[in-house]
Amino acid sequence: MEGVAMKLPSFPNAVSIGHRSFSRVRRSSSLSVCSAASSSATISTDSESVSLGHRVRNDFRILHQEVNGSKLVYLDSAATSQKPAAVLDALQNYYEFYNSNVHRGIHYLSAKATDEFELARKKVARFINASDSREIVFTRNATEAINLVAYSWGLSNLKPGDEVILTVAEHHSCIVPWQIVSQKTGAVLKFVTLNEDEVPDIEKLREMISPKTKLVAVHHVSNVLASSLPIEEIVVWAHNVGAKVLVDACQSVPHMVVDVQKLNADFLVASSHKMCGPTGIGFLYGKSDLLHSMPPFLGGGEMISDVFLDHSTYAEPPSRFEAGTPAIGEAIALGAAVDYLSGIGMPKIHEYEVELGRYLYEKLSSLPDVRIYGPRPSESVHRGALCSFNVEGLHPTDLATFLDQQHGVAIRSGHHCAQPLHRYLGVNASARASLYFYNTKEDVDSFIVALADTVSFFNSFK
């Protein structure tokens, strides 16, 4: 209930609450990062400036450990990111000092919790430049957000013969819900294949858009190919035929500036746990008039207006799509993550990652028999800071196991929730090393050395 006016002491952000209320001393890490924001974001360290990765390292205690006798080198941020102390503090702080159910209560604690929860919503809105915080619906994660659109918007808007355009490189979460809904509605799924640069073929996508198209659902940055799609243009083409666009921004929101007004997308989804926030929370951005036209997804408390025995009336968005008690602490911690990232500055993070990602690509491709998927980096093509790859004649799982066991290097092997893409590329599985702004040049060097050792170990047995 946003209209309720309360006289409360003001708690501008979660970080300051933490420091005011905590008796135990934690590194005031996020504040130090803010003050050092002017330092260089380059990956190399010299006497003058320290690289971003080195600077923030102390905020992430989890990175300072040994696994299997070697220093941990965490290169799996595309699967989930690590969380800075400020985010953990915010979560702890919530439970320790003002945990209470939101929206319904009158008492002090519940008002405080509600305030912080709604503040987190505003922070997320600001982070992606949504025009109104009511365009942010909190969900469990991006997958649930896509399902929300599929079941709520999809079931009531798709008719037999309508077309939904996807790419073969989509994550399963942006394929399966559409399969389910198209089965129920008789809509047809169409898939854009890759071109010779190993990116989805934009020309083909453009050609595929027709008056029959009702939705285009695509990734912003691919979690396997590291390529990005020109969302602004795609939105223009789609809107020309009256189609909507859903953007899966899981690999873009954490790593670069994403401006939903500039993109003009109708829907956008992201997960908190990939952007330094906790698991269990994500969000759907939806244009206001669109959300208002959509029926509920899940039913229950919070999303209703009046409830009778035989029918109910529903609340306005975003509440309409937030049934039941939300992940309050998690949302607030996500807000703290947004603060943390904003404190560093997304442009700075992006700049750092472009450079470090390019370094990774160069070192990796210099190893013999390594095949990296996706486009080559160039002046015009900026890859995301990850490399999915295969080594000729070796299975990625063997590589990942040995890297972990003998070198403490954490990468991922498998299909990365993109089976159709792997089938298209003609492989069963691939290995993937993914970076985030807390990785350093030394991490990449350790990885390359370890990989070379691993490859030679296995090759000696062939």
Binding site: Q65, V67, G69, H395, Q405
Partner: protein, 367 residues
């Protein structure tokens, strides 16, 4: 729940081996010890459908690589002497190799020497489920009706594991193979060196090999024309063979044979009430065979020590049954055909965790 073990390779770190489907949520330890976050099911990179729970290990006690074959933590592990001789050798070899890297080398060495599998055998039925990499296993009888295995994989480590099993199990008779409990994998000391998804693949490999051995046996029974064919496995008994079979046969069955146990009522239970599977079996047999007498006895408890029971039942451990059926439906059918008939009727159960049946099948005239 999980205990901290220091082993030679992980000095002060704690390894959680999440074998259960419901993986551990975060567990807090005193600040010194470091925890590895268990993998979330969604993160485990595999095309996996099932997770085998390795319930003995989930107590959290993991013996260090130097553990002897009878570690104190696992009093009810299958004793190593019960394993086929070659498998015993392999286990002892791995136990003598302490360093993880050397264990890998040993494993890869086995894999290298594995006879490659002809591509015609790389079929869906031969594929092991639950492996991140692709693994195929093939089984056939040699002249002495011992099972011979062949296997292959696209991953070197998995190939090594497959080679282990092929070497350890090939050339052995079906009953011996079926008796093997997957506990021995613990003894290898490879558990700690392999990720949970991979070691589940290992369990699945073993399971598939045992299943194939069973199929060979059943098919062999089918194909044989003589009624007095000797089918001696601990799981499948028919009347002709019971007197000659090994001493593992349950006393109740031997009784069944010689005398006519008509005293029991149709409830057929020995104090063990029938669970849902038992009821389903009873229903099905009643419906399809119209028996004059029907006894369905749940003897799963007699196999409670058999790890495959715990792992595979999926429901409440209803895995072993004694059946005594007197029905006109058996008229004119050979023993083999009668058993086949019953198996066919209980296909669903066999697929979903029913492990074995002991069958007495008579016509009313024979009783």
């Amino acid at each position: 729940m999980a205990a901290a073990m220091s082993s030679s390779c992980c000095a002060s770190s704690l390894r959680l081996i999440p074998f259960k489907r419901t993986l551990f949520s975060s567990i807090h330890y005193p600040s010194k010890t470091l925890t590895l976050r268990p993998l979330k099911p969604s993160e485990i990179p595999s095309f996996r459908r099932t997770i085998i729970t390795f319930q003995k290990i989930s107590t959290g006690i993991v013996p260090p690589p130097s553990a002897s074959s009878s570690p104190s933590s696992s009093g009810d592990l299958q004793p190593i002497e019960e394993l086929p001789p070659k498998l015993q050798e392999i286990v002892k070899l791995f136990q003598s190799v302490q360093e993880p890297k050397a264990k890998y080398e040993q494993l890869l060495f086995y894999g290298k020497n594995l006879k490659p599998l002809d591509s015609q055998f790389k079929t869906r039925e031969n594929k092991v489920e639950g492996c991140v990499s692709q693994v195929w296993v093939r089984a056939f009888f040699d002249e002495q009706r011992n099972v011979v295995y062949e296997a292959d994989s696209d991953s070197l480590l998995t190939k090594g594991l497959a080679a282990l099993l092929v070497q350890g199990l090939s050339g052995r008779p079906v009953p011996e193979i079926l008796r093997i409990s997957p506990d021995f994998a613990l003894l290898l000391g490879l558990q700690q060196s392999l990720t949970p998804s991979r070691s589940n693949g290992f369990l699945n490999m073993l399971k598939l090999m045992q299943k194939k051995a069973l199929h060979l046996e059943v098919k062999g029974v089918e194909d044989s024309t003589s009624e007095s064919s000797f089918v001696s496995t601990p799981e499948i008994k028919d009347e002709a063979s019971v007197p000659e079979v090994d001493s593992e046969s349950k006393p109740g069955l031997v009784e069944d044979l010689g005398t006519e146990k008509i005293d029991d009522s149709d409830s057929g239970s020995n104090g063990v009430a029938l669970g849902s599977r038992g009821m389903r079996i009873r229903e099905r047999l009643e419906k399809e065979l119209n028996p004059v007498e029907l006894e369905v006895e749940d003897v799963s408890y007699q196999h409670a020590g058999h790890a495959a029971v715990r792992g595979s039942a999926g429901d409440d451990g209803e895995t072993h049954f004694n059946l005594r059926i007197v029905s006109d439906a058996f008229q004119g059918k050979s023993l083999v055909k009668r058993h086949r008939l019953i198996y066919d009727l209980l296909q669903e159960e066999l697929k979903s965790g029913l492990h074995a049946l002991s069958i007495v099948a008579k016509t009313p005239a024979e009783v």
